[in-house]
């Protein structure tokens, strides 16, 4: 065993301290094994903290008619039927229990008149289903889980980035990373690893995602031989801020529309009447995003290239109580009082439906000992995620992955950690320092964002996607020649140079998958293939590493059992 690096021996290593990672850690701990959580930021700052609108669970507190079947049907419809039906079923069935559990750990949701958890309407959900705390639901969730985990005694390794998964033969035996603060390397020996690293939005220019969302987990798993699935399905949230430039992309929660917000173009027309007269503003995100985009492209956009979103017809006090952070966000950052006038909004890259392909029940990937949950995992959302289905995804499948990983680790023995592999991981981290000069990681990142924004955006076509692949190849090649200045101590340029590798990998995977799917479905819109084809609805794309190249496969969507088919057939 190497003594060169700080080494921690754990049973289960959880990469990521968002909702999924924390929930997994709590469940793994309950299996009586030693659990460690690593995260790139401080504890409690993970992306989940930003979730606003709420958490979908068919608790039927407000609309008595709701039940898991309806939630299941909504999720499958929203996902355009390429979801993993088993995940959609488990998710709909278990979400209410997970919510109650949060409450028992101290979470305080908004209440109904008779003291139950209040639920609000959201796009694509038949009933009022989103449990929420004003517009800061994610904060409530992450704080609750964090406190629970701390009280149970997990070890947290904050501001530590994992750069490689280590295998013993076929199975996982640990991970290698660095402390952001000191730049020193660290090795974790673990029997099982759960990836809960969240999304990939940072590859796009306009995004609601934080710097952490660089697709690390997907890239690490891919490098370790796991399969990625549904990578073509990138959700653009219809309402991000468009002005001022500094906040471009910042999310305007769907709760604004849930609470009655209306979309208009510059001529004052309520354009959703054209695109989805039935559900209007509360249509699914893919539809609303494309509608706004189309309005703007056809010259009916607002001065800063978006649409108007107006909630000012609601009483000012109500708006401030129900949407306090939106109120402040616009007031302080854009000088707009949303209780008096409309906001300007436009699509922003928001969520990754695809990710690591996992088993529905356990979250296990194709690599033994490697599990995944949350945004980093694929399957539940299919071609398009419904708002609120992510937070519930985190707790439902976070728990399942933690449970399975804990049980797996309780039985397994530690694998060995290969010195040569660690040395190689170290070398690749230090290379950029050793080059006397070279490419600037910040510049490559900006260029990558341009490529993905322009060529792999909301609307795609073959020519753009092919060009994107060529451009990505060039960027990859430039990334081989990166140079970073300064020391290893808290050096964001250096950190970015590593994250960039992951972004390039996932961007390439997205582009390949998008090129392969010759139809439009959910969040994936091809101008050259505008129709949704039944034949394509029976296929998912899987991406694996073959040698050094990326290979794309088609796999059949699993056939639904009859009882679930029955549910889908019911009209609601």
């Amino acid at each position: 065993m190497t003594s060169k690096f700080e080494t921690h021996e754990l049973d289960v290593l959880i990469i990521g301290a968002g909702g999924a990672g924390l929930r997994a850690a709590i469940e793994a701990l309950a299996q009586g094994v030693r659990v460690g959580v690593v995260c790139k930021s401080l504890l409690g700052k993970a992306h989940t903290v930003m979730a606003e609108g709420g958490l979908a669970a068919a608790m039927a507190n407000v609309d008595k008619a709701d039940d898991w079947r309806t939630h299941f049907r909504d999720t499958m419809r929203g996902g355009k039927f390429v979801n993993n039906w088993r995940m959609a079923q488990l998710h709909a069935q278990e979400a209410p229990d997970r919510v109650r559990e949060l409450e028992q750990w101290g979470a305080l949701f908004d209440r109904t008149e008779n003291g139950d958890i209040l639920q609000r309407a959201f796009g694509g959900h038949t009933y009022k289903r989103l449990c929420h705390v004003g517009d800061r639901t994610g904060l409530e969730m992450i704080r609750t889980l964090q406190d629970r985990g701390v009280a149970m005694g997990f070890d947290v390794y904050m501001e530590c980035t994992i750069t490689r998964l280590i295998k013993d033969g076929d199975r996982i035996s640990g991970a290698f990373g660095y402390w952001r603060e000191s730049g020193r390397f660290v090795v974790f020996k673990a029997k099982a690893v759960v990836i809960a690293t969240g999304g990939i939005g940072k590859s796009w220019k306009i995004t609601s995602n934080s710097w952490e969302c660089t697709g690390d987990g997907m890239a690490l798993a891919y490098e370790a031989g796991a399969e990625l699935m549904d990578m073509e399905f990138v959700q653009f949230h219809p309402t991000g801020m468009v002005w001022p430039p500094g906040v471009q992309g910042l999310l305007v929660t769907e709760a604004v529309r849930g609470e009655g917000g209306i979309l208009r173009n510059k001529n004052g027309e309520r354009f959703m009447e054209k695109y989805d007269p039935k559900r209007m503003e509360l249509s699914t995100r893919d539809v609303v995003a494309r509608s706004i985009y189309t309005e703007v492209r056809e010259g009916r956009g607002t001065p800063h290239g978006g649409a108007f979103l107006d909630i000012s017809h609601q009483p000012a006090e109500y708006v401030k109580r129900k949407l306090p952070s939106m109120y402040h966000q616009f007031k302080e950052l854009a000088d707009v009082d949303i209780t008096k006038g409309p906001m300007e909004v436009g699509p922003t890259c928001h969520y990754m439906m695809g990710g690591i392909r996992v088993d529905a029940e356990t979250g296990q990937s194709s690599v033994p000992g490697l599990f995944a949950a949350g945004e980093a995992a694929a399957g539940l959302h299919g071609a398009n995620r419904l708002g609120g289905n992510s937070l519930s995804d985190l707790v439902v499948f976070g728990r399942r992955a933690g449970l399975a990983a804990g049980q797996y680790a309780a039985k397994a023995a530690h694998g060995s950690v290969n010195n040569a592999e660690i040395d190689d991981a170290e070398r690749s981290m230090l290379a950029a320092f050793e080059r006397p000069q070279g490419e600037d990681p910040y510049q490559i990142h900006r260029d990558l964002q341009d490529v993905m924004h322009n060529l792999v955006g909301i609307f795609r076509n073959e020519e753009d996607l092919k060009r994107a692949l060529v451009e990505l190849e060039k960027l990859k090649e430039r990334a081989q020649r990166m140079h970073v200045d300064g020391s290893r101590m808290y050096n964001p340029g250096w950190h970015l140079s590593r994250d960039l590798q992951c972004m390039l990998t996932v961007s390439e995977a997205c582009t390949h998958a998008a090129l392969a799917r010759k139809e439009s479905r959910g969040a994936h819109s091809r101008l050259d293939f505008p129709k949704t084809e039944d034949a394509w609805g029976k296929k998912n794309h899987v991406i694996v590493k073959k040698g050094t190249a990326m290979a794309v496969f088609e796999v059949p969507v699993r056939e639904l059992p009859d009882d679930l088919k029955q549910i889908l057939a019911e009209e609601k």
């Binding site: 930021s41 401080l42 409690g44 700052k45 992306h47 903290v49 930003m50 109650r100 409450e103 028992q104 750990w105 101290g106 305080l108 908004d110 209440r111 008779n114 003291g115 705390v133 004003g134 800061r136 904060l139 704080r143 406190d147 629970r148 701390v150 009280a151 947290v156 904050m158 603060e181 934080s210 710097w211 952490e212 002005w243 001022p244 430039p245 500094g246 906040v247 910042l250 999310l251 952070s325 402040h328 966000q329 302080e332 950052l333 854009a334 000088d335 600037d440 990681p441 910040y442 900006r446 970073v484 200045d485 300064g486 020391s487 101590m489 808290y490 050096n491 964001p492 340029g493 250096w494």
Partner: protein, 246 residues
């Protein structure tokens, strides 16, 4: 295009100084944008924490012209841009590098506070009236600006005896939780040193979430501590009640 000078602290435990950077001014720019612009074009190794850029995660705490603030919520056009804008790390915590400080002490204090413990046999029903008060405290984004500004920590360095406003807010959120059954008053008095707070309200002034830290958390907690430890009447009443209910 208009330019503005940012005077950013650069350095680590070994020492450092403020360095001037010129940044093009963009409409609606916040200090964090300006710092990022420096990082992306002039000083790639400039250490700064951030996540959400929307005042939701509490990562980007620093001191702008001497005032503890979230950089992502501090508009450049609200500052005098004819002079250099001074950006420094929080001063109550040990410096790591540039604008990043070591806030790990806060996580240690947090561990001392007993978590939520539901009273036995509670029904999981809660009234919005009861929840309202606690929800204010739960808005805390752990930016630690209140800890930074609190003179008990900043000037008197009482890290060992004093928990700081953030953890009074947290204690209040648990103590006033309608279904919680644990008591933290002894902890507040003895370990978290609530008596060191002289309610001078700087914490409330800097809180970006506009939590009324002193009026709604600290003072009510002080009153609860008085109930338990200083008020002979309530102490007597408790004695009598305690004796009659075995």
């Amino acid at each position: 295009m208009a330019e503005v000078t940012l005077r950013i602290f650069r350095g680590d435990q070994k020492g450092g100084q403020h360095v001037d950077y010129k940044v093009p001014l963009v409409p609606g720019m916040v200090v964090l944008d300006a710092v990022h612009s420096v990082q992306g074009h002039q000083a790639p190794d400039l250490a700064v924490r951030w996540n959400c850029k929307a005042g939701k995660c509490g990562s980007c705490s620093a001191e702008v012209n001497g005032k503890p603030r979230l950089m992502c919520k501090t508009r450049m056009d609200a500052l005098p841009t004819d002079r250099p804008i001074i950006v420094s790390p929080m001063k109550s915590f040990p410096l790591i590098k540039d604008l990043a400080t070591d806030v790990s002490w806060n996580y240690k204090v947090n561990k001392m506070i007993p978590p939520f413990q539901p009273r036995p046999g509670v029904e999981w029903k809660m009234d919005q009236r009861d929840v309202d008060r606690v929800q204010e405290f739960r808005k805390c984004i752990e930016c630690f600006l209140c800890q930074d500004v609190c003179h008990v920590l900043r000037e008197h360095g009482k890290m060992d005896e004093f928990g700081g406003p953030r953890f009074f807010v947290r204690s209040a959120s648990l103590e006033m939780h309608p279904l919680d059954g644990a008591s933290r008053t002894r902890l507040l008095r003895e370990k978290l040193g609530i008596g060191y707070c002289n309610i001078t309200k700087c914490c409330t002034e800097v809180c970006p979430e506009e939590i009324h830290i002193t009026d709604n958390a600290i003072i009510p907690l002080k009153e609860r501590v008085v109930d338990q430890f200083y008020d002979p009447l309530t102490m007597l009443v408790r004695k009598i009640r305690g004796a009659s209910t075995p």
